[in-house]
Amino acid sequence: MARAGTLARLRYRFIPDHVIGEILSKKWIDNAIPFLVLVVVIAAFGMLLPNFFSAGNLSMTGRQLGEFALVCLAMMTVIIVGGIDLSVGSNFALGNFTALALLNLAGWPVWAAIPATVLVCGSVGLVNGLLIGFLRLRAFLTTLVTLIIVRAIVDMLLLKYAQAMSMSFFDDPFWDLVGMGDVLGLPFSFAVLVVVALVGHILITRSRPGWRAMAIGGSRRSAHNIGLPVRGIVCSAYTISGMLCGLAGVLYAARLSGAGSDTGMGLEIMALTAAVLGGNSLGGGRGSVVKALIGAVIVLVMTNGVLRLGLNSGSGPMVLGLTLLFAVFIDVRWLKNRDKLLNKVYVSPTLVEMPEPRSTSEGAFAVNDRLADVEIIGLGEIESPEDVILDEDDILYTGTRHGDIVRFFPPDYKRHEVFAHVGGSPLGMSFDRDKNLVVCIGGMGLYKVAPDGTVSKMTDETNRSPLSVVDDSRLRLADDCDITPDGKVYFSEATVRYEMHDWPVDALESRGNGRIICHDPATGKTHTVVRKLVFPNGVCTARDGQSVLFAESWGCRINRLWVSGPKAGKVEVVVDRLPGYPDNINRASDGTYWCAIMGMRSPALDVALRMPGFRRRMSRRIAPDQWLYPNLNIGCVIRFNDQGEVLESLWDRGAKNHPMITSMREHKGWLYLGGITNNRIGRVRLKDADPTWSAWSDYWGKRA
């Protein structure tokens, strides 16, 4: 068979194409464009302005940022729930005035004045919240009204008290610290911002109120329908917004100690620009503290920069306006095209050079009709019996695609009942020492069904790999399991990149996306043992009790993983160059092993596996129904021994009853067959097999 070029081999070995798609599927990638803008803006003004990176300028900017970013956070909080708060500017001015009035005129101490100011501004937010949340007024109009009224109140108060305020001067070391001082080398207001941002980030991303606010912003009606207290949460978002404005007002007051009628003028537009520029969606439901902060830095650096460049007075707002337009445009395009882009780049086939397959025209793999006169069980009564297993009382258990574990009763296996309902897609099964049925559930994890039918979860997660971009701690496609003598459950997860029903896409990629995981019921701990396996599928504890055999389907080989003894942790190939794709592996009565071959390799596909570019274009250009697949319409069952010799094969040549065989189980002289795309179970008499042999006794000793 021809080989791929060295260059192509190196390219697919060292350039991880699949990571691009994985990064694009992350939520935080939304921040990529705002962050890029941020870097560009800082770089541009850093070059244009002398002293931009000087300590003095940074400290000054840090102080301003502390105030401004708090206002942006206030705006972000209401934007997240799908609203808008135009009153932040006037509220900020009110906070500034209140703080100064309480300290300078009323003579309150600082510790009382600051909370009082925050509360006053919070009450303005509360009014907004009550009107918008409970009375269902329009956010835009309501906050516009508050903007005007609060501004008017501040102007009236200023008219009355401005002179008195400017006459007195408040002196307090803590107040000076707030205005001028540093905490841990950071300007005080910046330190406050850091604390608020951290708390806010945790609240939004990791707390119930935060998630609820997101849900309401995403779809207010759905949030209401699932029973969230929509009104209360909307109201509290506006209240928090008001309080943040108050805090910003206090910091401003401490820094400048002056109240003028232009305080906070136009601040709502700047805050809105910052929030949207950072990537917070005006529609609600999409936003974060980080986005607000990125936006705040961009806007502040730009407005200050334009000012310092000495451009004429209109140019500042002009730059801001254009930036806002640009941000909204990018936001809309990004939202619209992100999934399209992701769809285009997520699938990334890799280069696979398949070894020449063993012959199917002669030898152990010679096609025959030994499965032709199979006895059919449950035809049309079950769908997708991926695995079959029998207990000591000859009862036959199988999973179905409806998430049931169904069992058929001997002697004729005509009668059946639903043994347990787990959900998901039950796949590989095993009995443990206590006759509990351990089941891999595609889409859910590893579950246990007790003899009385009660279902309990064994594990649905494993340790997260440090370098994996996709979160691989959750189990997506637990496929087959077996139990070692010490009670540990070894199971395969076929792929971490796709959900169960997207397995053909994983076949198209043929990358090592899967792994073998070990769960120890004694400690409840789960950890990944081997990574980067090509669709690991069947798992079977070897006779020596020290190793586990597992199949790599798209790799067309069967491996051995040593789990104890001197070679513990090592993986070695047992059978390779299979002409088909191996699935479940189980023990045979004579000390050998059965392996289901779910489908056969076609030479045209083997060539395509060497050409990732061709497969990538195929995945993009034509519908999955038209893709070149592994030929899964015919398979066979093989028997092999510990040395890796294939001893025999059993075929259903015409594939009438068993087109895709995914499992087989020997029990008391019969071989039972299951297939994930099938609607029947088959059993065929084995001539030379021990008619008393059962798997459970073989694993756990004779019947107690």
Binding site: A2, F614, W627, L628, R680
Partner: protein, 349 residues
């Protein structure tokens, strides 16, 4: 320049000429099971080239000319086309043998290879469709995958050299004489064209949903058209992948290529497409398939009137030749190894 840019952007985005869409089977071409449900026909080994001679239907099977009562004639090479001359003599095109008329090979026709169809026009001249001047007939799928356009149509009158009526055609595969010229089915171009006596080419049908083969006159004054294999997006994709095609042709047995096929589903070495995965014991009849059976009746203006199908998983695949005579529609299922006798009137509205 703009054209080159357009081609480039099309290829990048899969639009325009790079689009891989195939026409749907719609209207008169709506799928049915009429071929599959038809009464058992005459068992035959890869039959092709149906003709009627003196009221008796003949076809080619390997090196033999057959009728329903047994072999009629035999040649040394594989017979690829038959025709009845105006004087009633049988013209037999066989690989390596040229074209024999009434048992003798005129020297002018001795060197011809890959003759896919023969027909006589009203003036008595013999039209010869040569599928490929590069490959022998048996290598037609290689001709397809190499995107060859080396076919030609010749016109021969006894005692002269054949005249080339059209060349650089994509595997002309069927001939039908009409008053205004010869209708030719051009397989790789998926179209029907008409050549008049001066060799002027008119396109009659384009973008057919399958690869056309034999043509025959219908009793209604129109035509019968056999489409020997369906088109599919995967084929269209492979045709645009030169590196893959080269590697596949070099390494894979020709019968397991991704190429149109006369039959499928008999070996697990064949390429399988996703939709053809059997589920719950059933292969969907609309599954993507390498082969199918399709016969279409066209009216005098080459608008489809009715169609007969054998779909995915069926047996009567690879219809290469059709013939209507005496109220019976004969169809040679080369892939299904059967000569079918069908009722042509059932689908006429």
């Amino acid at each position: 320049m703009m054209g080159a840019l357009r081609t480039l952007s099309d290829r990048l985005l899969g639009r325009g000429s790079a689009a891989l869409t195939v026409p749907p089977l719609d209207g008169a071409l709506k799928p049915n099971n009429r071929l599959e449900d038809a009464a058992p026909g005459i068992p035959a080994g890869a039959p092709r080239a149906l003709v009627v001679q003196g009221g008796r239907v003949l076809w080619a099977e390997g090196t033999q000319v057959m009728s329903d009562s047994g072999p009629v004639a035999e040649t040394a090479g594989m017979i690829t086309a038959l025709a009845v001359m105006p004087d009633g003599q049988l013209a037999i095109a066989a690989e390596g043998q040229g074209i024999a008329i009434g048992g003798t090979v005129p020297p002018a026709l001795a060197g011809l290879s890959c003759v896919t169809a023969l027909a006589c026009d009203a003036s008595g001249a013999l039209w010869i469709a040569v599928g490929s001047t590069v490959h022998p007939f048996a290598d037609w799928s290689r001709d397809f995958l190499e995107l060859r356009r080396s076919g030609r149509v010749l016109r021969w009158t006894p005692g002269s050299a054949p005249r080339v009526m059209a060349d650089r055609l994509g595997f002309p595969n069927g001939l039908l004489p009409r008053a205004d010229g010869m209708v030719v089915s051009e397989a790789w171009a998926k179209r029907l064209i008409r050549l008049d006596d001066s060799g002027r080419l008119t396109q009659l049908m384009e973008d057919l949903p399958g690869y056309p083969a034999g043509l025959a006159p219908s009793a209604g004054g129109g035509a019968w058209l056999a489409l020997f294999a369906p088109r599919s997006p995967l084929l269209e994709l492979v045709l645009r992948e030169p590196a893959y095609r080269r590697a596949m042709m070099a390494e894979v047995d020709p019968e397991f290529w991704i190429a149109p096929a006369l039959r499928s589903g008999y070996s697990f070495h064949e390429p399988m497409q996703g939709g053809a995965l059997k589920s719950m014991g059933i292969l969907k009849p609309w599954a993507p398939t390498r082969s199918s059976g399709l016969v279409v009746e066209l009216d005098a203006g080459f608008v489809p009137l009715q169609s007969l199908h054998s779909r995915a998983g069926g047996q009567r695949h690879g219809i290469t030749s059709v013939l209507e005579t005496g109220g019976v529609l004969w169809a040679a299922s080369t892939g299904g190894n059967e000569v079918l006798r069908l009722d042509p009137a059932r689908g006429r509205g």
